[in-house]
């Protein structure tokens, strides 16, 4: 479903080593991939290139059999939805946050509580200020926000990093059930080997600019 073909990507300022070097990999639809790798190796950069937020230096990324660099940008971003490493919000309240996400991806009428339910937050959260929530709750609001675009691919950057074990457990369970229910291709980045093994159908190592399956 998402396929990297000989992708080269340098860090933003073009100094230092390539973050992806001649990297080819096939992410198959409906599976959950856990990408492991040390800090600074380029995991966030990988997800951003898959979301078409960063241009490639060489190579191409196919969505289905279409080059994402040739698709209308909005279409790529709607089908491939990304949750960032640190929560950031566009609006004040949780409800406005979900509605602005809907507006951005061109959907007019959404029921915000439906998306909160998916991440197991009840509708009491709708009028609350997103920035005042706990980090775990913020991350779940961000997860709900990525679902508003009705994506087919979910990119999650360290969704469990800032959480204690029991909350992480809970988030992992949520992600798994959402991905399974909608048959999403899910690619998540983590530095926790145990979370990777628990959540991923496939555990992938990003190292030396290459993606490699890890034997389990």
């Amino acid at each position: 479903m998402l396929k990297l073909e000989s992708v080269w990507k340098y860090a933003r300022n073009h100094t230092g080593p390539a973050v992806l070097r001649d990297c080819s990999y096939h992410f198959v639809a409906g599976r959950i991939y856990a990408v492991l790798g040390p800090s600074g190796v380029g995991k966030t950069t990988l997800l951003k290139t898959l979301n078409h937020l960063l241009p490639l230096d060489r190579g191409r990324i196919l969505f289905g059999d279409e080059d994402i660099a040739l698709m209308p940008p909005q279409q790529v971003r709607r089908q491939v939805s990304m949750q960032f490493q640190t929560p950031a919000f566009l609006a004040d309240t949780v409800e406005e946050e979900l509605r602005s996400a809907a507006r951005f991806c061109g959907r007019d009428h959404i029921n915000p509580s439906e998306f909160l339910e998916l991440v197991r937050l009840n509708s009491d959260f709708l009028p609350l200020m997103a920035k005042t929530l706990s980090i775990g709750e913020q991350q779940r609001v961000c997860l709900a926000r990525t679902l508003v675009t009705l994506p087919r691919v979910l990119l999650l950057d360290e969704p469990t990093a800032a959480l204690d074990d029991s909350t992480a457990e809970f988030v992992i369970e949520t992600i798994r059930s959402i991905s399974r229910a909608a048959g999403l291709l899910t690619i998540l980045v983590t530095h926790r080997k145990d979370h990777a093994a628990e959540l991923g159908d496939v555990v992938v190592q990003l190292d030396g600019g290459q993606l490699m399956d890890q034997d389990s």
Partner: protein, 266 residues
Amino acid sequence: MKSYILGYDDVALSLLLMAIAILLSRLRSLKLERNLAIGTVRSFAQLTLIGFALKFLFAHQSLLTFGAIATIMLLVASYEGVRRQTVRLPGFFFIILISLSAALILSLAVVVALIISPDPWYNLVVSIPLSGMVLGNGLNVISLAANRLMGEMKLRSAEIEVALSLGAPPAAALQPAIKESLTAALIPAINALMTVGLVQLPGVMTGQILAGQPPVEAVKFQIVIMMMWVTTGVICGVAATAMMRYLLINKRWQVRWELLEPTSSA
């Protein structure tokens, strides 16, 4: 009403004021003496030159002269605008040039041709001082707004990426940053609208009154000038930031972060 005429000896006496400023700088070790002195010499030289140049030009009115002068002013202003940027943006010169040209054409059409309607319409006595005012103010607004916009984009990079990742078009993703930068750039002009006449009499009016115009007449001019001044500022700011959007976010809806790094000036 009497109009006051100064001799060069009178003008020279104003150096006494500058001497006080330089003395103060000396006493307080501000190290501003050098720049104050250079600035004094430059302002004397530049203004005297301009005075003679204007005298000459006013005596040789023609549409061609006006066109040539307006073009030179536009180019110099745009160059100055590029120089003031902390971060070099490719094509920024043309962004300034286009924004300033739009503001200039509009103010020439409305204020000069329609309101003041001198004869001929391009009469340099009217058009040159007004053009200078429009370009100077427009340039200030553009410089402030552009620097602020790039600062805001760095500050809000996370929010901008979130918006784009959700499928937001560049205009929507940059809207908060653009709003912030335009607010900051236009606040001085808007504040001036609020307090004009209460605290200080603006330059145009002061000049006219000193030159012997009745105050009520001078006020009419000042009102027209204020409207022109604020509106052309808004036009320049809006036009420049709108065009910067296409520079800072590419056709693939990707922010060109490298342009915001000071190191990319090469």
